[in-house]
């Protein structure tokens, strides 16, 4: 969300026709709109220009190791859950130049990042994704050192949340207490109904944009309809993860046989870490021009599942899949709490859906807890 001041809630109704104006208003406010759109048979987040780019009438069907787009029998614009992308790719880009070196007569001279991103408006942010942004804020902004690229992008971005009105089989945000309803961390929030949207602003910038749109008073019945739609998502969530004492549970079970069990299936492919909206591991590579006198340091996403991620003194500390899966899960659910005062998991279910062999972390936790045979 933007850095503008908070405002009082005042729900309005935005018709589907008036919704189309949002793109013009955002453009007028200087924003580049990033939102859901269909690409390669998935709903991804990309630059969009109009309502026509939205996945009208499509939904996603998700299960462990499976994701399918299916047509809906209505014209919903946000009638899906979450796809392989998360907003982190715009705040913590998969590849970014973090520093530069130039050889001069006085030797090497160094510059920091010159990243100058546009002002992003993120359209269609789900509650679990708002939570993921809060988690990454802790990682990149709240420590002794701040990541300049993330900070610049985050502070300039407008967040337009859209409440979930349905859930996938892989969702477990209620267990992680992150959703499905959006409660904070946005400038504007929408709930989609057949006739239009209930819309509300949480910041002055959001209110300013809201004022530029043709809205009407949200009738009590409309507000009730929106509540019911949001409740529908809650009711559809079936997956659960018991987070009781989870920090100690995992750290006191580092030698549990389940790690070997899951390692037999895990391909160490890194998919879970790539789709995770909070995973933040990265590496830096040197990209030099032909003369070797101008070098860019390019940071790219890395993964604790990569073989050489823990490379040290000629060997890899985590040299098998068991130790790498254990690192990922214990970090995500356990040591993350020590490090950042919050779980690293928001319950979005992406790692379950996009795992090629359908490994389900909620099942792994239950097994370590001893809840399943």
């Amino acid at each position: 969300m933007t850095t503008s001041t908070a405002v009082k809630s005042k729900e309005r109704f935005l018709s589907k026709e008036a919704f189309a104006q949002l793109f013009t208003v955002l453009r007028d406010h200087g924003y580049t709109v990033i939102g859901p759109t269909i690409d390669q048979e998935a709903i991804v987040y990309d630059r969009i220009h109009s309502v026509d780019d939205l996945p009208l009438g499509w939904t996603d069907e998700q299960a462990p190791g499976s994701y399918r787009l299916k047509p809906r029998d209505d014209e919903a614009l946000f009638g899906y859950v979450v796809g392989p992308h998360s907003w982190k790719r715009f705040l913590f880009p998969p590849e970014a130049t973090i520093a530069e070196a130039n050889k001069t007569d006085a030797g090497w001279q160094f510059e920091g990042t010159t990243d100058d991103p546009p002002k992003f408006a993120f359209l269609g942010v789900r509650a679990c994704e708002l939570a993921a942004m809060r988690v990454q804020d802790r990682v990149f902004l709240s420590g002794a050192y701040v990541d300049p690229i993330y900070q610049r992008r985050r502070s300039r971005s407008l967040v337009i949340a859209v409440n979930c009105t349905q859930a996938a089989s892989t969702c477990f945000c209620t267990s992680m207490r992150t959703g499905p309803q959006c409660t904070s961390g946005y400038d504007l929030v929408l709930t989609e109904l057949a006739s239009g949207f209930v819309i509300d602003a949480a910041t002055a910038e959001g209110a300013d944009i809201l004022d530029s749109l043709e809205t009407t008073v949200a009738l009590i019945e409309t507000q009730q309809e929106a509540r019911a739609a949001r409740q529908q998502a809650v009711q559809q969530i079936e997956r659960r993860m018991d987070t009781t004492d989870i920090r100690d549970l995992l750290l006191s079970n580092l030698e549990h046989p389940r790690w070997s069990h899951v390692a037999e299936r895990c391909l160490s492919c890194t998919n879970c870490t790539m789709v995770c909206p909070t995973c933040f591991c990265s590496s830096v590579k040197e990209v030099s021009d032909l003369s070797g006198e101008h070098v860019e340091r390019q940071r790219h996403w890395d993964s604790c599942f990569n073989f050489d991620f823990s490379y040290m003194n000629g060997g890899n500390v985590r040299d098998n899949t068991r130790s790498r899966y254990r690192q990922w899960l214990t970090h995500k659910l356990s040591s993350w709490i020590d490090q950042f005062g919050t779980s690293g998991c928001v319950g979005c279910g992406r790692c379950i859906t996009w795992c090629p062999v359908g490994i389900d972390l909620t099942e792994e936790v239950a097994a370590i807890r001893g809840d399943v045979p």
């Binding site: 590496s283 830096v284 590579k285 040197e286 050489d308 490379y311 040290m312 003194n313 000629g314 060997g315």
Partner: protein, 167 residues
């Protein structure tokens, strides 16, 4: 040296400090103290030796001979440590040579007397062997660490990559 003085010395040595009073008395009675000038060979690898030595002061070295490399120094031992376990446990057939690296003072216990004491008095035997086992297990661990060659320049060949860490 009279046994009471020897007993006092044994009480101060790491090897024997934990022994109960009676055992110390018996050990003292079976021991003498001896000055060993630097360079003295106390026993030789492959040879026989009748004594167990406890170093009171100075330093002894254990060496093994390797064809082509001569005498290879494996370990040096200092005050409070035991040398010559083969005399007690292995009928005196020595597995290494012991040489005084500097002027040293050692408590010498006759292995046969110790064996007799062990046989006659199981309690003595238990306590002495407990100390022997503890000393040998420490030496075994130290040997394992030596074997790991922890300070070798590069444990395995280093692939060409940019992420190394040496802090």
């Amino acid at each position: 040296m009279d046994p009471s003085q020897l007993r006092f010395i044994l009480e101060e040595l790491r090897f024997s400090a934990m022994l109960p009073a009676e055992v110390l008395d018996q050990l003292a009675a079976a021991s003498t103290i001896k000055q060993i000038p630097a360079g003295t060979v106390i026993f030789r690898e492959g040879g026989t030796n009748d004594n167990l030595y406890l170093i009171r002061d100075g330093r002894l070295a254990l060496e093994m001979s390797v064809p082509g490399r001569g005498a290879v120094r494996i370990l040096t031992l200092g005050a409070g440590e035991m040398v010559g376990w083969s005399a007690l446990l292995d009928e005196g057939k020595m597995t290494a040579s012991a040489i005084a690296v500097e002027d040293s003072e050692v408590v010498v216990a006759e292995a046969e007397k110790l064996r007799q004491l062990c046989r006659a008095n199981r309690d003595f035997g238990y306590h002495l062997m407990e100390q022997m086992a503890a000393a040998l297990s420490k030496r075994l661990v130290a040997t394992r660490l030596q074997l790991l060659d922890l300070f070798a320049a590069s444990p395995t060949p280093v692939p060409d990559r940019t992420s190394e860490s040496e802090a």
